[in-house]
Assembly symmetry: C2
Homo-oligomer: 325 residues x 2
């Protein structure tokens, strides 16, 4: 464990709010090397989604309460338990009761990293509410305890989460790459907004335990991040795109070998991927990535934005480096 002084649970103000962008991993993390510390087996690298994400607010309440998008969440639900177990791990059991509200403008549990931005925003709100003034490294550590990809949502742009190898996670580290890339675009194509049948946590566990190709994935995924950082440094978009698409397909391929087989993709997911591959042969340089859900995200540059809109009229296009959100 990191050597951390106990976190104060005395409110420094009446209410606090914070926003975190969601993020899309271009090099994905799949599998934990420590369930309790929520340490990833492999490093990952993401791009933040600007104004898409979660706003969280926190205040003292008469009992613990979680509201998501204005709806109170049952105390027996998985979301509720997961959140307050995490909060207890940070504040201990003598903490005051808390009202926590989150509002996400992305679908929950559909593979668009809603838990990443939710945990990130709640942590930032708590940091402000309790006046902790935590440094980035501690914020990343605490965020990760809540959701593996939340540490990547604390920052903007390209964010690299280094898995590390230390059993206590002291070398887990989140680095925001200095590069900005104003032409960089992310497109989201919703195939289904339904909640995925197998959570990322359960899917990872199944993959680590049963996929015969998991070992190959881990080695490859680690290498992907190194290659991706180099490609971003020189703004080689073809390389960035190729790594992105292949990384996602290798991850989904690794899941397909699980027992029982784990397939997050739907026929429509595959249809979009193959259409994107076809578009490339026509000179429209877009690449697809898919997380633990059926939705497809595209990466492309500004020059192809119009073509993407024509090919995918429902595509939600994000400019991750847009200044204000």
């Amino acid at each position: 464990m990191l050597n951390i002084a106990p976190l104060s649970y005395t409110a420094s103000k009446e209410k606090a709010e914070a926003f975190c962008s969601s993020n899309i991993a271009l090099c994905k993390y799949w599998g934990k090397r420590d369930e309790v510390l929520n340490l990833p087996t492999n490093s990952s690298l993401s791009i933040s989604l600007g104004k898409l994400g979660t706003r969280a607010s926190i205040c003292i309440g008469e009992s613990d309460m979680l509201m998501i998008g204005g709806k109170p969440i049952a105390t027996q639900s998985a979301e509720y338990t997961r959140l307050f177990t995490w909060i207890n791990s940070l504040l201990g059991n003598n903490r005051p009761c808390l009202y926590i509200h989150t509002f996400s403008n992305i679908p929950i549990g559909a593979g668009v990293a809603s838990s990443a931005s939710s945990f990130g925003a709640i942590l930032k709100a708590m940091n402000s509410f309790f006046g902790w003034q935590l440094n980035d490294s501690l914020l990343a550590h605490f965020a990760r305890l809540g959701s593996g990809s939340a540490a990547r949502s604390l920052s903007r742009g390209f964010v690299y989460a280094k898995a590390g190898i230390d059993s206590n996670g002291v070398d887990f580290n989140v680095i925001t790459l200095p590069q900005t890339w104003s032409e960089f675009r992310v497109g989201i194509l919703y195939v289904s907004r339904a909640k995925k049948p197998v959570s990322s946590r359960d899917g990872m566990k199944l993959t680590v335990q049963t996929s015969p190709t998991y070992k190959g994935w881990v080695e490859y995924a680690e290498n992907c991040c190194d290659e991706m950082i180099k490609a971003i440094q020189v703004k080689d978009f073809t390389k960035v795109g190729e790594i992105t698409e292949r990384n996602a397909l290798t991850m989904h391929g690794t899941m397909m070998g699980c027992s029982p087989p784990l397939i997050y993709m739907l026929p429509k997911t595959l249809e979009i991927i193959q259409k994107v591959q076809q578009l490339r042969s026509q000179g429209i340089e877009a690449y697809a990535t898919v997380d633990a859900g059926p939705n497809v995200k595209l990466v492309f540059l500004k020059k192809d934005e119009q073509s993407i809109k024509e090919s995918f009229p429902t595509c939600e296009i994000i400019s991750p480096f847009e200044s204000a959100f």
Copy 2:
């Protein structure tokens, strides 16, 4: 190389004909450990498809000629070159010219093992035409030189092709399992009869060279055969089905990690796989398998034949152990 006396190329009759069933690998082979000797990296196990396959006829001609389904094949085509290169490797260059006709009642090049039954049938026809009287082991060896899965098409029922490890392939071996299973059914669902964009040979090469999860596949695939033989011995259909489906998905998952990504499946392929998985939750015990193409094959037992017909009205159902074909 096997120590083989030169094969005679003196015709023993005016014309010879032979038929070989196509076969569907329940445990698939993907990747060669020797390109020239066409030795597989991993063992495989198949079920033959009864009356679905290829009839080949051979006679002396004025020049080499290949006709497939009544159509003459261009001498510059890949099929023509592949066939006569193989024949030259068996008979040498002083052989007489040959007319070879094949008639397949399965689509060519669409992942229903048409080359397996074609090479198998041509070899058997040559064996009869030239009066070679080769034993099963030599037939398997020569068939494999033509097509990796052809050795499995020389026999009927469950056929196990042991990859071996010897660099000359002397321990490559094809074993017909003694078990018959009259209730066993194979269903074929054609998604597309178009020729696949990447041949199995090229796809295997790409996978061996570029898939980061290939090593995991090889180890797993070898183990699959051992498990499958045990399951067939005790007629544990659930086990047979589970191994079949997972083996195929692991293979396709391994291909997905290639650079560039290799995806033989089409959206419809995935739709069928997911429908089959859903049917199982309703008590209809069918399992899906997919070869290097978009078509889906199902395995199930006679008791579920009616349900399969209702769920998939276009399904072509085969009884591999039917006596006559």
